[in-house]
């Protein structure tokens, strides 16, 4: 019997199984024979190692819990492999159920873990953004102020050098330097105030939003206890949404402002 014959006979004998399974089995046996041949055996020898083909097919079908006697009679009727397992084998069913439950639990755990991590990442990234926004006025302005200080110092020096040419020029330069520092400081203060204003606005409206949510919860409880607080509850809901939205708006505005400035600086 050569390889082709063997595989065809095998295919015929296990034709009760699903198409996919048959292909799977055939390919596996084919690979085995090919590797045997590659090792130096002849086709006949490789196939002879499988023993009696009918016995082999019986074993394969047994593995699928299909009765080979039954399947030999009506080979055309497709018997899905799992159907044969449907006998009331309660132990097995119980085990399967447990396994499925465990699997589901495992999946749920991974999903929960992932989402928790995602939320964590989100909060962390936003928090760092916010904290940057808070730090911004102090961080960003410092180097600028440093350079302007240096500049004015240089101006003063040049003013000193020019003293022989005329005190006027020196004084003028000195005044210019001081004036520039004043402008810088005032600009910085204005920027600080501006940032501070937005941060405070966001902060206050955030607090209001939290209070509204708290009120909403309170009203919901009271409502369930029968108090006529539907109106106030709705108002709390509206407040929570409005203040929440405003907080988000302010935050986005600040972040955008920072981005724009960063773009200009670069």
């Amino acid at each position: 019997m050569d390889k082709k014959e063997f595989l065809e006979k095998l295919k015929k004998n296990i034709s009760v199984l699903e198409e996919r399974e048959i292909e799977d089995i055939i390919s596996e046996y084919e690979q085995h024979i090919d590797m045997r041949i590659a090792k130096g055996l002849s086709e006949e020898e490789a196939i002879a190692d499988f023993g009696d083909i009918d016995e082999l097919c019986t074993q394969i079908l047994e593995a699928y819990s299909v009765d080979s006697q039954d399947s030999a009679g009506n080979g055309t009727e497709p018997h899905p492999a799992d159907e044969a397992d449907d006998e009331p084998d309660y132990e097995k069913l119980k085990a399967e159920g447990k396994k499925a439950a465990k699997k589901a639990a495992r999946q749920a755990k991974t999903v929960a873990g992932e989402s928790a991590q995602r939320i964590g990442d989100f909060v962390r990234s936003n928090f760092s953004r916010l904290s940057e926004a808070v730090k911004r006025p102090f961080k960003k302005k410092r180097p600028e102020r440093g350079t302007s200080d240096k500049e004015s110092f240089e101006n003063n020096e040049t003013g000193g050098n020019l003293r022989s040419a005329g005190i006027f020029a020196g004084v003028r330069n000195g005044i210019k330097g001081i004036f520039r520092i004043c402008i810088d400081i005032s600009v910085w203060c204005v920027k600080l105030a501006w940032n501070f204003f937005w941060i405070m606005t966001a902060f206050v409206s955030g607090i209001f939003a939290l209070f509204s949510v708290f009120g909403l919860g309170l009203m919901a409880v009271l409502l369930f206890q029968g108090y006529p607080v539907a109106g106030i509850g709705l108002m709390s809901l509206g407040g929570a949404l409005a203040f929440g939205a405003f907080t988000v708006l302010c935050t986005i505005f600040m972040v955008k402002m920072k981005r724009n400035r960063g773009g200009k600086a670069a």
Binding site: D24, I25, S27, E28, Y29, Q31, H32, D34, M35, D49, F50, G51, E55, L56, Q59, I60, E62, A63, Y64, A81, K99
Partner: protein, 106 residues
């Protein structure tokens, strides 16, 4: 060796072989053949049955020569099953050898 003996421990040997490293069918047959002289044809149905009972998971991986190979990977349930088989086997073989020893000495 008695074929009935082989049949019983074949599962244990197959599960043990795959425990450390995923293997494809032919590799596994060779591994098992080192331990016991077994009809190669019987191992594939066994692998199928163990897979159907969720003791194995299978996946395909490309090979440098020929078509992709189907690899067998032992599951947690498979490891538990292997342990229980090993325990059974040890108890069984101990009992049998104790019995034989008693007969010989007595």
């Amino acid at each position: 060796m008695n074929s009935q003996f082989k049949k019983g421990v074949l599962e244990l040997i197959v599960l043990e072989s795959v425990r450390d490293r995923d293997m494809y069918g032919y590799e596994l047959v060779e591994e098992v053949s080192k331990v016991i002289d077994v009809n190669e044809g019987t191992i594939y149905p066994l692998l199928k049955r163990l897979t159907n009972e969720r003791y194995f998971e299978t996946y395909l991986r490309e090979s440098t020569e020929g078509p992709p190979r189907k690899y067998y990977h032992i599951t947690a349930a498979g490891i538990l099953y292997r342990d229980s088989l090993e325990k059974e086997w040890n108890e069984f073989s101990e009992k049998v050898s104790l019995f034989l020893k008693e007969r010989r000495d007595g």
